[in-house]
């Protein structure tokens, strides 16, 4: 099956500063991919390139189109929420639905209205009268009512409280996601999306550090909690990162011998957040 997004040597410079350094990656249909990286790693720049909001060097195909040259056509089949609270203050909920319905062939107003009714948001109100969480729900309802093949979310829940964040992801998973959709998402709150993701892309200093499906992570990485007496034996298995934890040490391994590790302590699959920290710390110490 051909990739929904295909990047080859994707690069972007701002002056002399390199934001994206020859990225190669693919996103397959039906996946939920988390693009994860520290601040300034190039996540937002990569998403902007995918969405046609910025020029770039290298090859990039999204839904078979060149994003920067064909943004308008691309947006007929892809949609995005680039940030919370970007709906303009003067826009009323009704007008927003009318407008998107008027310009977007794949938008279903009835679906947007149903989603908003569920969230208890009425039509005549302007964005300036809504709370940040409600505004996000309006934006999500507008976006979910578009029958898009690709949805891109850039820090969609930034600045929202825990209730609004949970509501956002519940709506996304229960009312939107199915086999025909693909989602590409960046967020700081890795723990919140970890259970949603089917794939992760780690990005640091404009480069891909890890590109893996969640199943592969379980097969490829292990974390072992080791007591001091087993530490020397465990270190001989060449962990790439370790950290102290409640009197023990957690050691992280890539492609380890799982049988030998089991003898040293309790073996688990590292969480995405832990793996991220471990991977990037190694980068820093190497």
């Amino acid at each position: 099956m051909s990739s929904l997004i295909q990047a080859r040597g994707l690069s972007k410079k701002f002056g002399s500063q390199v934001a994206l350094d020859h990225l190669d990656f693919d996103v397959q249909p039906g996946r939920i991919v988390g693009l994860i990286g520290p601040n300034g790693a190039g996540k937002t720049t990569a998403l902007r390139a995918v969405l046609g909001l910025t020029s770039y060097e290298g090859e990039l195909q999204v839904l078979g189109r060149e994003p920067f040259r064909e943004r308008a056509q691309l947006m007929g089949e892809a949609s995005f929420i680039a940030d919370v609270a970007v709906l303009p203050a003067w826009l009323s909920v009704d007008h927003a639905i009318e407008f998107v319905g008027g310009v977007h062939p794949r938008f279903r107003p009835s679906r947007a209205r149903a989603l908003l009714a569920n969230a208890g948001i009425t039509g005549r109100r302007r964005m300036s009268e809504l709370s940040k969480g409600m505004k996000t729900m309006v934006h999500l309802a507008l976006t979910m009512a578009i029958d898009a093949r690709l949805l891109v979310l850039d820090e969609p829940t930034l600045g929202l409280d825990i209730l609004a964040r949970r509501g956002f992801y519940d709506a996304l998973v229960n009312d939107y996601m199915d086999d025909t959709r693909t989602i590409l998402i960046t967020t700081h709150q890795v723990e919140e999306v970890e259970n949603l993701l089917t794939d992760v892309l780690f990005i640091d200093q404009g480069r891909i550090v890890l590109d893996s499906s969640m199943e592969d992570i379980a097969a490829r990485y292990a974390a072992v909690a080791v007591t001091d007496d087993a530490l020397t034996a465990a270190r001989a298995e060449r962990p790439f990162h370790e950290r102290p934890m409640l009197g023990k040490r957690i050691l992280y391994f890539e492609r380890p011998n799982f049988e030998r590790l089991a003898a040293l302590g309790q073996v688990s699959t590292p969480s995405v957040a832990d793996l991220f920290v471990a991977k990037l710390s190694r980068g820093a110490s190497a």
Binding site: L53, A85, P88, H104, H139
Partner: protein
Amino acid sequence: MKTYVWLVKREFWENRAIWIIPAAIVVLLTLASLFGTIEATFFDSAERTRSMAGLMFLAFGALFFSALSIYSYWYLLDCLYTDRRDRSVLFWKSLPISDTATVLSKLFVALVAMPLLYFAAADAASLLAAFVLSVRAHSLLGNALWQPDVWLQLQAIWLYVIVTTAIWYLPVTGWLLLISAWAKRAVMLWSVLPPLAVILAERLFIGTHACLSAIGDRLIGYTSTAFNSHAYAWADQWSGDQPSAISSGAPSAWRILDPWGFLSSPSTWIGALVGSALIAAAVQLRKRKADQ
């Protein structure tokens, strides 16, 4: 095409001043004609009365046109800037609308939709005032305000001015759109300072004033290009200083408009070219600058 209709609607939702300002002027002028004092001395002869009627409508038109000019300047500077400032540009760009369509829709609102709206408002205000005044001061005015030829001439002048100013001031329009699509802040300052700086630099370092005259000619050269020299005589006729001229031949808008002079002037087309180039540049900037 459907997209353009929605884009124009969108502009009216966002910028309610587009219709509030002309509506407010209509109300003010109507109030003025309801409660203002009518000076009997102006209407001492039939000719003078007739001239005053024409002059009044012309003044109404000029008032609406001034308001339109000032508001358009602000609108053009603001239209590609506010949504970058509040980041809502990211929402608009998530829709299947090209940047060209976005810029052209704003251009259409500024050059066609708003002028026609102000034109309609000026007509409404003139009709209302004419009605009120001919009821209030029937003994003085008689039917002087109801002259089909005067009304027809006013319509012709309005339409002519809408078309010719749109073409003549295209470089100004393009420049404002460019600044609106580019500036990070202080659009008003950016719209004025670079031309001033260029003029000053040219004077200081080269000692010539080609830029000053190019910009100056653009700003004040409109009337002399779009209207012919009869215009001044025509205005005098309306002001009532030469009532005899009226009896010798009805003052005619057709005589003062100079469409052939306007269309055959090279500076009309040079301006249109420069303006189009600036608008194309604004589209490119709009494409590249998603937000700040």
